[in-house]
């Protein structure tokens, strides 16, 4: 038995530690631990609910807008306040642009190098690579000339001995199996993706006033002024800028990212067999298309025990079942408290004990739905949509599965999506869907403005008595909910149940592990000193611990460690 401890495991903000016990080349037991206290929402107690979102968007440096949005939705829910259609569309466009940005960064910059061995790129035949890429997609960046230029850059990088950040990859690992040509194609798009991240940011900047911290939200709507005759407001020029940004961004997502994810999946079909883990899925509806938020472009629902034939739909954010079902357990987390707590009654009082395998070992609480652990994220989103017969989900999922099955190898079915590779693929499917929806919601906004509706805000009225609300958002990493109690016009409690809390959850009082932990069971580990396979499965969830003080380390101390114990 070999014990491996990887700390930290994320490429972005936050401290995530994964411990696994390996025997006979596979993982037998796993623990997910967040090594920094996550009680940032306590800073909101006593504050004016109208300004909560400004603080909430500082919970995490990567997921800024999603917390801002969940916060205003929570207060609006408590007030039962409708927001104008223009405000829904503007918020939706911000959320779509943010999600596209986030998913692109995850695929290329946070996880591609777990699969792509760039040191083989000098051996690639650019003509052959161009013909493979051309056969799969109409993306213009796939020309032989473009790929040759990227190959030369990589040759230069390797020749200079200055691989920089790329020197830490598990190059030459036996689990790296792409051809030099495939590695070249994916790395070329990795570089191109940097340009498209900017375009997504620009959309958020135009609508939100600034990025990454948007300025235009308000409880009751948005503060964007709409006047087609004014240069300083939302007018046809701005709408035209948004249209052209999306027209550049959408082809990259649908012709490069989506296709790359399908090619990657077809090249690593064995990863549809690993990493299933918790097969209970939760997704909330999002992208409302009316003021009352009764109709949504992304469906929500609950699937239990991997039974994709049966989904309990969550029709809207007033759904009573989800409000009653969610509770957080702290048996194995460094907090005080007995039994699961409903978030409105939730407390965050620390009780640190050091790492105990069978006791407390993490700062992440264990959220449960009717007592069960749940997996959230794009996979939950896609499975719920597919099971509910949602047309857009079916269109892009079927396109992906057909694309993968057209490559010689095993046929992939919707059932196979419940896996490590399924999570990568689901994120790409969701991105392709969101790209279609971006153009649709821009059209909805434009049409509504042209109809003469310039309203963006309904002023909130706060009662003196205590009110409670929950704000839901299907964020890039999955279901996010902010639970607020407002008393005498100030927050008296504020709990954020974030996607990574669901997925990185520790064991609960019944001993049931969370999704990261259970997904690692039976994962292969070819070389305990280079646990690449563990990273693949954990990265498939797109971890973001969102809790850390990020002080820049200039002392040159080694931070990341893989310890084989």
């Amino acid at each position: 038995m070999t014990r491996i401890s990887i700390d930290p495991i994320t490429r972005i903000e936050g401290h995530l530690r994964i411990d696994v016990e390996v025997d006979g080349g596979t993982v037998q037991k796993a623990w997910a631990s967040c090594t920094m206290w996550r009680g940032i929402e306590t800073i909101l107690r006593g504050r004016d609910p109208r300004e909560g979102w400004v603080f909430a968007q500082r919970f995490c440096g990567v997921c800024t807008t999603v917390h801002a949005m969940a916060s205003v939705r929570a207060v609006e829910d408590a007030l039962q306040l409708e927001i104008p259609p223009n405000a829904q569309y503007i918020r939706n466009l911000i959320l779509i642009a943010h999600a596209l940005h986030d998913h692109i960064v995850h695929f290329y910059h946070l996880s591609a190098l777990d699969w792509v061995d760039i040191t083989t790129i000098p051996k690639a035949d650019p003509a052959r690579a161009a013909s493979i890429a051309d056969g799969a997609s109409a993306w213009p960046g796939n020309s032989r000339r473009a790929l040759e230029a990227v190959q030369n850059k990589v040759k230069g990088l390797i020749g200079s001995g200055q691989l920089g950040i790329f020197s830490h990859g598990y190059w030459g690992h036996p689990a790296m199996r792409l051809s030099p040509e495939m590695n070249l194609i994916l790395f070329a798009h990795y570089l191109e993706a940097l340009e498209f991240q900017r375009k997504a940011c620009q959309v958020v900047g135009i609508l939100g006033g600034k990025t990454p911290h948007i300025q235009n939200l308000a409880v009751g709507g948005v503060m964007n002024a709409i006047n087609l005759n004014s240069l300083a407001t939302m007018n046809m020029d701005r709408l035209g800028m948004l249209q052209s940004l999306f027209q550049e961004l959408v082809p990259f997502v649908q012709q490069a990212y989506f296709v790359d994810a399908c090619l990657l999946a077809a090249s690593y079909p064995e990863w549809f067999r690993y990493g299933r883990g918790v097969a209970n899925y939760l997704a909330v509806p999002d992208l409302p298309v009316d003021a009352k938020a009764t109709q949504f472009d992304l469906p929500g629902g609950v699937i239990m025990n991997g039974n994709v034939g049966s989904v309990r739909p969550i029709q809207n954010w007033r759904d009573q079942a989800i409000r009653a079902a969610v509770a957080e357990d702290v048996t194995h987390a460094w907090y005080q408290g007995e039994g699961p707590q409903q978030p409105w009654k939730g407390k965050t009082d620390p009780d640190y004990t050091d790492f105990h395998d069978d006791g407390k070992y993490t700062w992440v609480k264990a959220p449960r739905y009717d007592g069960q652990p749940m997996q959230v994220g794009p996979l939950a989103n896609i499975l719920v949509g597919y099971a509910s017969g949602h047309a857009l989900t079916r269109k892009w999922t079927d396109t992906a599965l057909n694309k993968i099955s057209s490559v010689p190898g095993p046929t992939v079915t919707p059932q196979d999506l419940q896996s490590t590779m399924g999570r990568y693929l689901a994120r790409a499917i969701r991105s392709a869907m969101l790209s279609d929806l971006a153009l649709q919601h821009l059209q909805l906004l434009t049409a509504n403005i042209l109809k003469g509706d310039a309203t963006t805000y309904n002023p909130p009225q706060f009662p003196q008595n205590e009110i409670i609300g929950v704000g839901m958002h299907e964020a890039p990493r999955g279901t996010l909910s902010h639970w607020v109690v407002i008393d005498k016009r100030a927050f008296s409690n504020y709990q954020a149940v974030v996607p990574t809390t669901w997925n990185a959850s520790p064991r609960d009082q019944k001993g049931n592990p969370g999704p990261y932990e259970s997904s690692l069971l039976a994962n292969p580990v070819a070389d305990p000193v280079k646990p690449l396979e563990v990273l693949r499965t954990v990265h498939s969830f797109d971890p973001c611990m969102a809790c850390a003080c990020h002080t820049l380390d200039a002392s040159g101390r080694e931070i990341a460690q893989v310890k084989v114990l």
Partner: protein, 194 residues
């Protein structure tokens, strides 16, 4: 317009400069970067080719803001051996030369990774400088420690000096603008430039 829209403009051949504050304002001294760039904005006036941005803790999402720029000045809390409040200035080589580890951590805003990516893509800034201060406490919501505040005006003036030395339009305002330090209590007073 925001920095994502930036990029060298060949028509004017004006160099694009970004002054960035990094750090989480909810975590005490970690908010030094956002504080410093806000005070810089209030005390100095710059040409339209200079953008001043509070980017929080973007990790790898920093890349779009550095893409295609000429000069980047980052104000941030830094972990170094010196005592709290010490002001440290680093060049890009100082930063990149240190290490390239398996994974970045919480104690790393992703600057190294972003620069390395942008270099390969041919879009890295021509020059990057970090103005750091050693924090005393990065506890939740505790405001700023006296040691860190004592270095604030020095940090702000150094941002201006770095710009002026590179012939970038940056002048002290005759009357400082009112800073927007929304995350601090209303009675907060910072000992800023004289």
């Amino acid at each position: 317009m925001n920095a994502c829209a930036a990029g060298s403009d060949p028509q004017t051949s004006k160099r694009v400069c970004v002054v960035i504050g990094l750090g989480n304002v909810l975590l005490g001294d970690d908010g030094f970067g956002p504080l410093a760039v806000e005070m810089f904005r209030c005390e100095y006036e710059c040409g339209s080719n200079v953008e001043i941005l509070d980017l929080g803790t973007p990790g790898l999402d920093l890349a779009p803001y550095l893409y295609g720029t000429d000069l980047v000045v980052i104000a941030d809390a830094v972990k170094a051996e010196q005592k709290p409040g010490t002001l440290c200035i680093y060049s890009e080589d100082d930063l990149l030369g240190r290490r390239a580890q398996l994974r970045t951590s919480a104690h790393d805003p992703g600057v190294q990774e972003c620069i390395a990516q942008l270099r390969v893509a041919g879009q890295a800034p021509s020059e990057l400088i970090i103005i750091g201060v050693v924090p005393e406490s990065c506890a939740l919501g505790s405001g700023f420690s006296a040691s860190v505040l004592s270095s604030l005006s020095l940090a702000v003036d150094n941002i201006a000096r770095l710009l002026v030395e590179r012939a970038i339009d940056c002048r002290r305002r005759q009357a400082p603008a009112q800073p927007n330090l929304w995350w601090l209590p209303g009675d907060f007073k910072c000992v800023a430039s004289s």
